[in-house]
Amino acid sequence: MTLWLSGFFFVFFLIMTFFLFSMGVTVIEFQLFTSFFTSLSVSFVIDFYSILFASVVSFISAMIFFFSQFYMDGDTQQKGFSLLLSGFVISMFFLIFSPNLFFLLLGWDGLGLVSYLLVVYYMSVSSSVAGMLTFLMNRVGDIFFLFSLSLFSLFSLFSYFDNKALVFVQMGAFFLLITFITKSAQIPFSSWLPAAMAAPTPVSSLVHSSTLVTAGVFLLIRFSPLMLKFFYFLIVISVFTMLMAGTMANLEWDMKKIIAYSTLSQLSFMMLSYSTGLIIFCFFHLLTHALFKASLFMSGGLVIHSEDSSQDFRNMSPFSSGKKLFASSFVVCILSLCGFPFLSGFFSKDLILDTLLSSFVLIILFLIGVFMTILYSLRFSYYMLISLSSFRSSLSGVYENVKYLILPIWSLIIFSIVMGSFWSEFFFNFFFFFTYLLSIWKLFYLMLVAFLSLAYMFILKKIFFLKLYFFSFMWVLNQNMTARGVKLFTIMADKIFCFLDQSWWEFYGPQNIFFSFTSASVLVMSFVEWSLVYFFALFIFLLFFFI
């Protein structure tokens, strides 16, 4: 079943690749019905963005289905798992191809629902809590989506082709922005992203590479004409998210969570490039990031599997077969992540770095964020590689025949090495000769960071052992956005309920209106029941009026 699905998505990938070479925008639209004000239609947009992203999504999902055949082997509900996962991909396709807000909402809610079901796949209390957090936090975004949908429907604007500079449309665009940053887990809404790591690893891989969290960025790119006014807002949010994710990735010990934070920092990197106007670069980085992040997660899943589902770096054993085989894939992914020259991450990241450094105001924070990226990348690969030679308490490496996983992981690795330059030359038409020369300073920067990170690991360890609770718990975002935030709102609602809704507003609002209407109706009724006398008086009056 899983392999069949994998094959299906691979065929879809091939079809998409065929379409890739026919540039241009095609919109296929089926009118469902037209009523007084609205016309509802199912429409698909086939253009550069959707085809390229859909091909990447289908390729990655084919590889991940192949991987999950191995990873979820022996699980009792493997069939349902694959079906859920394919539901995920299908809702993502809805999101990619539909320009219509209604069907966008369909894909959006499909993503939310399926993500909840997949996070609670393991039947532990912690995954249940994580799933609920994920679902509710995304639900906040969905509510804003509904707001914006209702605002747009006032003007019967249901697709992103028609945008008008109306006040309501601007408001709706702001709500849409909030929706997208909830899905992409930017700073006030980031707490669900590490929590969602309770899902099985293939799910995390799919979520973080190409479906759930990147959906927000993809739709931001889609709706970019509407978002122009909120770019400054987005800059601040993304820079702080980048810093937060970087610190968290440097302090976290759970392997999957580190990768999750790296995704978060990459997402905010994309957001940053988006909000400074480099929309096409943002899309390019989205694609390359999808490739190496998928393979990174799959390699991580392999390590977790061979460590007997232990995710902690402090519990690594050198005796697992998967790790030996795939340590190099880790390294390639990590280097691509931090933008090592001539890997695919370099092509996208380097462009953004160069362009931003010439124009960017919050340059220090930005540089710190990039520094953090390189730092956690090095930290990750250090612990991954050092666990091959030294061992911790666990001696329980699982030996598995993982040879046939070479196909999904290494094909993605090859893609993530090659595709950066391929895309940049054939699709984006970026020229790199000048940037190579200009970016030599970045190599120095990389070396400096490597030195500093070594210093961090061996010399400055003590400094980092200060009370790091603030940083270790996502800048206390987790508490503030869940329990404390809800408490604040509850208290506020209680106050409003007591002092306004049930007392003053009720007294001067509905009750007052009802009372005044009733007394007015008594007055009018007295006129009407006065009947014939009144009528003849009116008649005589009119008689005089006409004569």
Binding site: V125, D254, S309, I386, S472
Partner: protein, 175 residues
């Protein structure tokens, strides 16, 4: 000091020191990744404990203990290390445990749906009780009250409990 939710007995000073040492080593396991580092730190910590092992004055000893607990508290790890199948670990409770006695709590009508299975089950239960009486509860009447708590088993070290010399070199056994 004890971390137990409900303290049911007085805890001796020796126990408290041992617990402190154990927690200190656990905290160090959370900070240091490589096994050699952890062992080195544990040895250093053991040295710190050993320096004060001969103090007879209980006032100083208690103060040292309190200081140590303070230090432990201030240096606790934000993300403590946990094995995957332990409570708080990443894989804890993934496979739901369904206790066998749930089947006994079925309604008789439900049980009547599977008459063969439940007849077999009752038979096996009787056999198990008989086996237990024969092997572990020789000559005594079967009683489902908890036995009375005699003494404190935790007071003794594992070696002392089985009557071995703790300083004698024991061949470690594998699980």
């Amino acid at each position: 000091m004890t971390t137990n939710y409900l303290t049911t007995r007085a805890i001796s000073h020796r126990e408290q020191v041992c617990a402190l040492y154990k927690k200190a080593v656990r905290t160090m396991e959370a900070y240091w990744v490589i096994r050699a580092d952890v062992r080195y730190q544990a040895v250093m910590m053991r040295h710190r404990f050993d320096q004060n092992k001969d103090i007879k004055d209980m006032r100083i000893a208690v103060k040292l203990l309190r200081d140590g607990e303070e230090e432990l508290f201030m240096n606790q790890h934000p993300i403590p290390f946990q094995y995957q199948y332990s409570p708080g670990g990443s894989a804890y409770g993934r496979v739901p445990y369904k206790p066998d006695w749930l089947v006994d709590s079925w309604h008789p009508l439900e049980k009547a749906s599977y008459p063969k299975y439940f007849a077999q089950r009752e038979k096996r239960k009787d056999e198990w009780v008989k086996y237990w009486e024969d092997h572990y509860n020789k000559g005594q009447k079967f009683d489902d009250h908890e036995p009375e708590w005699h003494g404190n088993w935790d007071e003794k070290l594992p070696g002392e409990k089985v009557g071995l010399d703790p300083h004698k070199k024991v061949k470690p056994h594998h699980h």
